[in-house]
Symmetry: C2
DNA sequence: GTTCGACCATACCAGTCGGTATGGAAAGTT
DNA sequence: AACTTTCCATACCGACTGGTATGGTCGAAC
């Protein structure tokens, strides 16, 4: 029996702190987390934190690494059991959509990180490296599926870029339109994303080939409601 | 000659404060702007600011309205001279891509706003209203072009959603991959976005129809570099 | 057992920021 | 002119935060 708690080996302190930082940043955002909270969750105090990390900013970069590693492990696990190339792509997309739409920690952390990127070159570089890795991952999936004849040929990299942009935008949209989290909507979004790869070269329609039924399709939005009312102007006081 | 500066009419004070807030939020982000700076840019002091606005948060909503109005005016001006439906859509997309990729104020402001949305229902509701207005605007453009036979038929709303998500993701990506701001790249991205609307119903390719030339398409990424190295772990100190 | 360095806690500092209290000037009303 | 309302400036408070100074503890080497 050991009377004293026997403090944990110091070697695992940096990862523990990084994990605490990641969790808290993901829960409240970078600006709303202070160092005392991060240290407390890791079981130490701020003084110890500063022994392992130079600043709050350095802790953020460590938290980014946790995020990268966790994403990579999760998506690899999601596609591992699938042998078919198109199935692997679909599984990866399904996992990504699901996590973008439901995982609020993911949303909060990346949003917070994007804000910091605006003024922090280190965070920019780190994310750019992560994005490049994700892109290569998806390009590999798409190219394999194309080579296997499960997808029509086309510029895989450019389509992956479009898909990843839509994925990131979807994550933001899920923050204020929660209905995209419904299973049916998720499936429809997944189909849209998959459609990016399933289409051939887009056929451009020249001017002048107006169909006879054109007059049947009416402008679906009443012209009077086109102005964005936005939120109510808060300038008037009671 | 008037000796005194003759203070401006109070009626225009709320818009001036909202504009100052918008500019500063767009330059530095919500958390890094204080009320003294906002008041100073509007030519008053914090005490006066609090006469017109109840809190920093209320000022944020007012700044949102400025953003909404400015976006709407700018995009309307961009498409006004175009009579052809497809041209109007293209012009709107070109304007949006251009502003997403180059306008760092736009990027900073919306990113900051997205972070606040995570915990502020008011900001969420305001943005949702703005997003709905933008979506209806684009759905109108697309439906008109479809009715005129300049675009193939298809679910306009769902395609607009996909396009808007990609647009928002593009804005984020432009923050850490500045090469997307190059004109040629902008054009390519514009083509990708337009392609969302120019494609018909995506043709699903069933399994087993492997083309004879499948072995010619090689995996374009060397398999050894698939692992994301991410940023260097900052846990080790010198 | 002494020493030394890695590791951690306590206390504290210097600065910042949102928000308030208060009084005075300008403009309108009677 | 006297009075009220609207609008704005000054001064200030209280809470919080990133970062530091300093001293203590524990284990291992000698």
């Amino acid at each position: 029996m050991k009377a004293k708690p026997a403090r944990p080996p110091a070697a695992q302190m940096p990862p523990r702190l990084a994990q605490s930082a990641f969790e808290l940043f993901a829960e409240r955002g970078f600006a709303r987390v202070n160092l005392d909270q991060i240290a407390a969750r890791a079981g130490v105090t701020k003084g110890s934190l500063y022994w392992h990390y130079r600043s709050k900013h350095e802790l953020l970069l460590a938290a980014c690494n946790r995020y990268y590693q966790q994403w990579h492990a999760a998506v690899q696990a999601a596609i591992a059991p699938r042998p078919d190339p198109l199935d692997r792509l679909r599984a990866a997309l399904e996992f990504s959509v699901h996590s973008c739409v439901l995982d609020t920690q993911n949303r909060m952390f990346t949003t917070s990180l994007f804000l910091l990127m605006q003024e922090d070159a280190g965070a920019r570089a780190g994310w750019a490296q992560f994005y490049a890795a994700v892109r290569e991952f998806y390009v590999g999936l798409v190219a394999t599926a194309q080579a296997a004849g499960r997808l029509p040929p086309g510029d895989a990299r450019r389509r992956v870029d479009l898909m990843l942009e839509a994925m990131e935008g979807l994550k933001l949209r899920a923050g204020f339109e929660p209905q995209v989290a419904q299973p049916a909507e998720q499936q429809a979004i997944l189909a849209s994303l998959l459609g990016i790869f399933q289409t051939g070269v887009p056929q451009t329609m020249p001017a002048g080939m107006e169909p006879a039924t054109a007059h049947l399709h009416r402008h679906p939005t009443p012209p009077g409601r086109t102005q964005p009312t936005a939120c109510t102007p808060p300038s008037e006081r009671s």
